[in-house]
Amino acid sequence: MKLVTVHLDTEEIAEAPIDRSMVRRFVGGRGLTSKLLSDWYRSPEGSRDKTSPLFIGTGPLTGLSFPMAGRFVATAQSPLTNTIFSSSCGGRLGVYLKRHGIDVLALRGVARKPCYLSVQDGVLSINGADGIWGREKAEAKAVLRKIYGNGCSILLIGKAGENGVSYANVENDGRFLGRGGLGALLGAMKVKAIVVGYGRGEVSGAGDQVSFLAYEFKKLLSASPVTSRGLPQFGTGVLLNRMQELGLLSTKNFREGAPPQSRRVSGEAVASELLKRKRACYLCPIACGRETRFGEGPEYETLWSLGVNLSIFDIEQVAELNRLCNGYGLDTISTGGVLGMACELSEKGKLPFRLAYGDVATMKELIVEIAEKRSRGELLAMGTKALGERVGMPEAAIHVKGLELPAYDPRGAYGQGLGYATSNRGGCHLPGYLIGLEALAIPKLVDRLGIDGKASLLALNQNVTAFVDSLIVCRFAAFAIPGDFYSRIASAVMGERITWEESITIGERIWNLERLYNLRQGITEDTLPERFSNVPLAGMLKEYYEIRGWDSSGVPGPDKLKLLELSTGQDGI
């Protein structure tokens, strides 16, 4: 496996093999890039980098003919949360990098002037970004396509990233590295885009057993109503009505339950009123993506964050807000979180301007001002945590570790609440995703307002997803694929036996590594916003630390680190 490092300040490009034992311990994707980040970026002091390195990582399945696995991850220290942050994307960039023989691409330092990277015919170059920096994304893409053709994969940031908005996202082929402000990091590095040609190299790892597993994988997908009907027919928005019915959807910055008219911005509404065509990531039979009259999306989280959350129940208006965020390169969840908070602050006279729930026209103006970091947007561009501190109202900032919460109200699903509190990347629904158990009966339904055993269930699911993110299979596969399946895939593609239990241990190792990184950054709290004080967190947290083998303040002890082959010298605090 090959690691290619681009030193942006010196324009030096270095290649190095990735140690086989490191791959055995961390697999690829999230695990491997987290390990590299942890090794390379120990502290701001003593480092020659002005910013965190950013790693783009592929997995052992990337580029093979395997469903839902043509993805890649990006890992860095988040400019929004300061935590370690891995994000997964369904664009084709990873597949194309792999065909060029690049397994991990690392960016370090800050370029002297705005640039973009290109990989063509196995050659990586650093190019001046004069014609694309400061331009709209659509214009920038057109310029790059003119140079490199329509067949290339383009990863790029929008104006929000260039301007350092702390929750700016990154786009690749209409899919997104949505959360954590990785767009702001690329902007700080002065990297506008990465363009990768189709590539002709052969990706190794395919074989008879991999084909058999791919076949069985697809059989299971087609046997599940979630992956064979719900998501294909209505996209991720299919979740909205279910969550509303269970009382898991809130409005007005988590101050009220979502009203019945939320149905007007559901997946069904997207399908009947907006849809142009369905979009699939590379080799995905589900095709949950929606291409609408307003471009990509809106997806479930956005239907909530820019719709229900802001009391906007006109599907076209929600789609327009989504289009603006996508165009400027803003994470729609965080943007909706910030706007929802701003409405509350305005009500309470804490803002120097007026903003009301449902006021779409002002929100459109604000999205542009946020992305351009000017006027009213300058204040809102910092994210909810910093905004709450600035205006003296932290209780209105609905975040965990600085990351705005998504579309599942933890007061209706206690395990999900614990998931937010303990997530290594902050207020995110994805690590653990106990909503599967608490609301969707996947694999079985549990009492969503009970706490018995929730912490143990969550820790197990966090470990499994860390492994799956390292093998790099789309999270939506978990709606149909049981946990033991992934170890069999890993064994087949990596050419050595990895038992089911070993795969969970690898996930646990990654989870602990991320935890250690955050502790090193001084991030120690596992809490929920004050607004959710009725979630019985304390009891669950005690069980959580216990099953993780951490001490009562949540620090992994020497025995646990030894068991996971994580050394305090290399990986610890």
């Binding site: 299971l220 018995d452 170890s487 216990e546």
Partner: protein, 199 residues
């Protein structure tokens, strides 16, 4: 102290195991893991008629006097929890699966549901089949790779995230074993891919 809903769930699964004929009156055992505590059914309890007092909380590793009341298979359950990520375990004596375990080294389902769920079920064998150290080792080892395992001539051990899942596996195993056993008498039948033997 367990929540009422948790106790209710254990009682229902115990009842279902008995009603489905997957255990005799005083056989089988059930456990859950929460943190470092295992809640396991009492030694000699009737799973079909469980009461809250039939559930015993023991540490996952450390010996204490509460083990006096715990199921005779407690060491097997402990080994499973220590060596795997299981959060629930169901041990039952499903008749057809037990019968097949005496005839085969692995059970490969011939029916559709069994094939989707299991692909195959390993059969392990030891001299002392109940609650022994050697049984703990082979069962917990098999459950590192499979969701359910048959102890030859004795019964099944299923692991799950949730109890319902471990029960489902036990119940589905018996259904699959029923078909697989009876079809042995037929000369010709349509088989699934031999690839399932590689699972």
């Amino acid at each position: 102290m367990l929540e009422r809903a948790t106790v209710g769930m254990i009682k229902e699964v115990g009842r279902d195991l008995f009603v489905r004929g997957l255990i005799s009156s005083h056989a089988g055992n059930i456990s859950l893991r929460m943190g470092r505590t295992i809640y396991i059914t009492r030694r000699g309890s009737m799973l079909g008629r469980l009461k809250e007092s039939d559930l015993v909380g023991v540490d996952i590793e450390r010996a204490d006097s509460r083990v006096l009341m715990a199921s005779s298979e407690v060491e097997v359950h402990r080994a499973i929890y220590l060596r795997t990520s299981a959060l629930s375990v169901v041990h039952a004596h499903p008749p057809y699966a037990t019968l097949l375990s005496l005839l085969e080294d692995e059970i490969v389902p011939v029916d559709s549901e069994g094939s989707y769920i299991f692909k195959k079920i390993p059969v392990v064998s030891v001299e002392k089949t109940i609650g022994s150290q050697e049984a703990s080792v082979v069962i917990s080892e098999a459950l590192q790779e499979y969701r359910i395992v048959m102890m030859r001539g004795h019964g099944s051990f299923a692991r799950g995230e949730m109890l319902e899942e471990a029960y489902m596996l036990t119940s589905s195993l018996e259904a699959a074993a029923f078909y697989a056993y009876h079809i042995r008498e037929m000369k010709e039948y349509r088989r699934f891919s031999d690839k399932y033997k590689t699972w």
